[in-house]
Amino acid sequence: MERAWGRSQPSIPEQPVRHLLQVCDLTVGYRSRDRGNVFALEGITFEVAAGEALGLLGESGCGKTTLGLAVLGLLPPTGFVVRGSAVFCGQNLIGLGDSELQVVRGAGISLVHQEPWAALNPVLRIGDQIAEVIRAHARLSRERAREEAGLLLAQVGLPRETFIAAAYPHQLSVGQKQRVTIAQAIACHPALVIADEPTTALDHTTQDEILDLLHNLRKKLRLALLLISHDFSVLARAVDRVMIMRNGRIVQRGTTQEVAGNYVDSYTQSLLSYPASAAHHQNPTTGLAPWPRRSNGHTRYHETLQFADPGHRDRPKPAELASVTTVGHLVRSPLTPPSDPIPCKSSPLLFATNIQKSYLQGRWPSAKRHRVDALYGVELGVDAGSSLAVIGPSGSGKSTLARCLACLEKPDSGEIWFGGVNLTALADRKLVPFRRQIQTILQDPGSSLNPRFTAVELVSEPLLVDRRSPGQECRDRAVDLMAQVGLRPDWGNRLPHEFSAGQRRRLAIARALSVEPRLLILDEALAGLDRPIQFQIVDLLLRLQASLSLTYLHISHDLGLVTRLADRVLVLHSGQVVEKTTARELLAQPRRIQASSPGNGTCEPVGLGRELA
């Protein structure tokens, strides 16, 4: 579909020229007050041909977003280009003035942003925002531009019937907002679209839809695509060629097949991991998803696992578990608590039956009050030394379950047995020692660590509160714990914001371990981290489990992590248990779980609301 534009547009030649965009030795730095000049990109060189799809893979903070910004001259005031060129259709974009770049932006090269909810102006209507982009590059009347906007929305899968054009951004779901930003990006028929992590914020189903949409648009409009992501599975589906970036440099490039088979180091390897849903083979021993195999048949991960995790051989094999103590078995038999108060090896450490909890919504003097069922008839059991995962979509009641099991809240009904003791029957004061045996690590250590305390103070707080040992001993123990979780002892005086996200999780783990718990509940503890960091912490957790005989209860929505960490899986939806299975079965049929979870992209809390009579 060719349109006649009023303003001049960089001419796109009819036949595919060899290179649409040619970046040569691009080096970009940022001025930082306390650290001098920092290089974000160094010596970046690549080409994009017309109609081709190129992927850029790298972990967060390696400079991927800076590339897109630098090419279009959108660097913040602290950023500057040291050297290099970016030639687009014969014109070097680096060093061009704002007015000249304005012509290119949106009409020649356009940018799809990473967080769609942030890229839309909250006080303007969707249709107006798209029309705005059109009118910036063409002399069309308001009505015409709005019509075009409507057509564009239909193209990205939001037809007229959905009334999106008249809506405001806060009324749309995340997936719909992403489609709108894509519509804005293709509004002026650009030659190249730079998509910066377009699927990171979305759940799996919506991710697939967006990738399909991009694919179709590419074919229809003959777009070239530069797709930036930290998730290789996304790139594998959408692009032909891939570049891998680390610390601002490109370390490897090739077609997706080449790169997947031949990673140059463990870093790349960790980046290239597949989530469980894309797995093809299974390792029979551990029941975990495989690593891409090297040609000699062994993968380095297996080597690391065997040498660093001596307890791994002692863990109950999935086959054993399935026959003796699966939760499914327990559910079918009548619910009798173990009469023997001394727990034996194969009886569950934690055992909960018929947990029910509901909340009253609405403030004190308000007229309408809803009773929302957060949990209804939940049963589960975790064996000592094993790991159970609870998965489910957001709003399914996972966090409420974690709080009830950690004795931070009392369920309305049901029983929780821990080590042979009925916790729900105990008074609050008697619960304190049990609370210390069950520790929780929360999703956002950003707020679970008091930002004013130093690392040592944070880790030693539970010990100091106990008052059993003097202050210095507690601090020494804290330093030991920090070493155990892989943090250097001389970092003890740092504040939380001086640690990276992964290191903060380690701090939280160290603090939880200081009271020597028996059960550790991890409530989305690894969410928000890059894959390589997640795997490092997974390693740590497995090692600690073996050496300290810990029991884990994982709560997550990430299937890839869950299958690595846990033997058995419980699926929760709308406060009820819908499935109990093992990790192996989950790997085999992951689609079944997703099919039972609710619709696409909406993140509203789900609950059975019943009005109080």
């Binding site: 304190v432 020692p433 609370r435 950003g446 707020s447 930002p451």
Partner: protein, 347 residues
């Protein structure tokens, strides 16, 4: 760090300003209530180094001021350098009442003779403005500081109660705060002042003023403190601490108090200038401390007369001195706000 430097400089400057005010007895050359009826409304005395014969004196001196009395009444004053007194430091002043020496005190500087050094001139009663400025500072600054203490104290109490107990107690206190904040501030002050007696002696008026200003200002601090307490109570680290079995008292001590104290400090730096201004406004309008106790506001009151406004420029002094003081307080508040800011952790 740059920010901390600003904080330290402002704090030190403010303390330095307080010193002459607190030690007004020493720093002020004369008694603020003594009237010199022969030189009313005279400009600041000029300090001379060279006398009329052109001889340079190492020690500066002042000349005598004589009023121009004429048949139509008082018409300003002029300098008569036939009689001079030199400036000296650490002068012993003797106040004479009824021919007898009643009070003898040492002052930082003064003259050795009968002529007076009037650094900021005199008001219409002939009282030395400079001394009145220092003594008036005691009233105005003192009222501001004490009123801030009162209102922050009340705000702390109510805010803590509302934050901890929650439910209906919280609602009642917040409705009351809304009521107090429903009026524009000065109107509220007037309303409360209105029902209190008008003619009081200086000391009672001072205490009354502090009470009025302090007790009407509790609403905003209490809302802020309550907000802080509510938000900290549901932070994940408090939840985690409960998981370790930390007692409520310890949670308050370790986690909540530091947050509250930073809010209180910042509020103090913002409220003190506001309350000083309240006292000055009251005294300016005649509702504050009464004569003969000096206050910066009542010193400004004479400016309401147009003649004084145009001719006697030195009377502005008590108002002008407020500007650097407020400036220092506001920059202190700014740097306090920035230094106690918690670094936002990225998600």
């Amino acid at each position: 760090m740059i920010r901390n430097k600003k904080l330290v400089v402002s704090a030190i400057a403010l303390v330095l300003i307080q010193i002459p005010v607190i030690g007004a007895g020493f720093f002020a050359p004369y008694d603020p209530t003594v009237q010199n009826r022969d030189v009313p409304s005279s400009p600041p005395t000029s300090v001379h180094f060279a006398d009329s014969r052109g001889r340079f004196h190492f020690r500066p001196f002042v000349c005598r001021w004589i009023g121009n009395t004429s048949s139509s009444g008082y018409q300003g004053s002029h300098e008569d350098c036939s009689k001079t007194s030199s400036l000296r430091f650490f002068v012993r002043n003797e106040t004479v009442y009824d021919g007898q020496v009643r009070k003898s005190s040492r002052h930082l500087f003064g003259t050795d003779g009968a002529e007076k050094l009037l650094l900021l001139g005199t008001d219409e009663y002939g009282r030395d403005q400079f001394s009145r400025l220092l003594y008036g500072g005691q009233t105005s600054l003192g009222a501001g500081l004490l009123a801030t203490g009162l209102s922050l104290g009340l705000g702390l109490v109510f805010g803590c109660i509302a934050g901890y107990l929650g439910s209906w107690v919280d609602d009642v206190i917040m409705r009351a705060a809304e009521l107090f904040m429903a009026l524009p501030w000065i109107y509220l002050l007037f309303a409360v002042r209105a029902f209190l007696p008008l003619n009081l002696d200086a000391r009672q008026a001072f205490i009354l003023l502090i009470g009025v200003i302090g007790s009407t200002g509790w609403a905003r601090p209490s809302r802020l403190i309550r907000g802080v307490i509510l938000s900290v109570k549901q932070r994940a680290y408090v939840l985690a601490a409960r998981g370790f079995g930390v007692s409520s008292m310890s949670i308050i001590r370790r986690h909540i108090l530091p947050e509250v104290s930073s809010v209180v400090l910042t509020q103090a730096a913002l409220l003190i200038p506001q309350y000083i201004l309240a006292e000055v406004t009251f005294s300016f309008l005649g509702l504050g401390v009464s004569e003969p106790q000096p206050s910066w506001g009542s010193m400004l009151a004479s400016l309401q007369n147009y003649y004084v406004l145009t001719a006697h420029w030195w009377t502005f002094a008590s108002g002008l001195v407020l500007v650097p003081i407020f400036f220092l307080f506001y920059s202190l508040a700014d740097s306090l706000q920035r230094s106690v800011q918690i670094f936002d952790l990225p998600k």
